[in-house]
Symmetry: C2
Subunit: 267 residues, 2 copies
């Protein structure tokens, strides 16, 4: 048994959708969440910068005595997981590996679509992992930079969002995909709108759930599960606080956790 908390980090608040799945699948675990709200978003930034930021965050989380770390952010998972694992002596999980594995299971016609930020799509990580698992699968990727600001504006199902989704998803639909990976933590909040555009024959894959299951299995296999005998205590940190945190926290977790602000640049 290991009652230390699990660290979860994200470029901002989108990772709260991953925290939600972890809370659901790993009911006894405590979470230390960090959102890099001062420097978000990561999706448009270079591999070098995303990796530098991620290293600072892992160093911060290690000061909170975490037993494992989940990179909730797809961009950081795709760009920095390997380098973080090389650098730090703590189990680290990204969302891309579980997401890719779920996509392989989901597709019947062997045509998978991936949507994400520019930074995620640029790495080709989802495509690489899916093709390694099954080389007969064709993968079609599309960066959708406007989806995150649309969610943050609260326009999750407006005419403008529908038109944007049509514009982004049109090419993928023409390719005949039967599964679509929501490769960015904000996208599950657009599930209804995206679902309406792609139709019910295209399965939407949310990597968050599979990630939580992967971490659960790891903790069980390594005898590191929290025994649940102590009171539960989730703690939230951000690098910048505005009310937007509360709004998205309420939306994702149905509860507002007040975050502490820390200076991530000093780590």
């Amino acid at each position: 048994m290991d009652n230390r908390p699990i660290g979860i980090f994200d470029s901002g608040v989108g990772g709260l959708t991953v925290a939600k799945q972890v809370m659901k699948v790993l009911k006894n675990e405590n979470i230390v969440y960090f959102g890099d709200t001062a420097r978000l978003p990561y999706g448009s930034k270079s591999k070098e910068t995303v990796t530098r930021f991620s290293k600072q965050i892992v160093r911060f989380l290690l000061t909170k005595n975490v037993k494992a770390i989940i990179i909730a952010c797809n961009t950081a998972s795709a760009n920095s997981l390997e380098e973080l694992r090389k650098t730090f002596d703590v189990p680290i999980f990204g969302v891309v590996v579980p997401g890719a594995s779920e996509a392989v299971k989901a597709t019947k016609n062997k045509k998978v679509g991936i949507i994400g930020t520019l930074g995620t799509v640029r790495t080709g990580e989802y495509k690489k992992l899916i093709c390694e698992a099954d080389s007969s699968i064709q993968v079609f990727s599309k960066a959708c930079p406007l989806f995150v600001p649309l969610v943050e504006e609260g326009w999750t199902n407006t005419e403008i969002t529908k038109l944007t989704a049509k514009e982004y998803l049109g090419e993928l639909l023409k390719e005949g995909i039967d599964s679509l990976v929501l490769g960015c933590t904000h996208y599950p909040l657009l599930k209804r709108c995206i679902g309406d555009i792609v139709g019910e024959n295209v399965k939407l894959v949310d990597p968050a759930k599979e990630t939580a299951i992967t971490v659960k299995n790891f903790l069980i296999d390594n005898n590191m599960i929290n025994d649940g005998k102590e009171d539960k205590n989730h703690i939230f940190y951000v690098s910048d606080y505005t009310e937007q945190f509360d709004v998205l926290c309420e939306k994702a977790l149905k509860k507002v956790y007040k975050p502490q602000v820390i200076d991530i640049e000093s780590y």
Copy 2:
């Protein structure tokens, strides 16, 4: 005469539209430009964080021996100008003061609209300055968070952008404004689309031109103009480099300047 360069900084690449006006109005001056591309955008972030970032940037620009500094970013101008002027012993200019002064001149019916980021609108700086200059003017503000990502996606005049502009500008038009301040460096790139929505009876005010004129007058009054005897040399720095810089540099300055990447967190 003072042949030292002028420092210009912005949260990213939008400030290149201000650099363009400075190059036009102050033909003999050299520019040292810094774009905080690793931590952009500033528009959604708190006053404290924007001011902390701005201080790091001023410290960096001072190492480049600048004779004056222009804050090209509306969000940083609105949130941090006062604090920067208190902290540093170098002439510092924002875009909000000149923009407000231009709006006062532009309006005939005394009804002015302001559009900008959440962070700019939240400060109420434009409104305060305009009302101080003429208390009979009514000011109506609207944050337009989607305009920046729409420009960065290259969708400057699509159906989606038109619908978004209609949504954001509808309220201001109902108030009967006759002038509209483009209170964010990206917005001049949407001039055509915004102009179509508001109609030709609403004057669009771009603070960049007036800012360049303000700085020119200051340099003349203080005998600090560059004598133009040395070769011109504009230098560009960013905190993160991706090809997006080249794209927007080409769009704003009709030329691609290759930027140097620096670690702004160490200043």
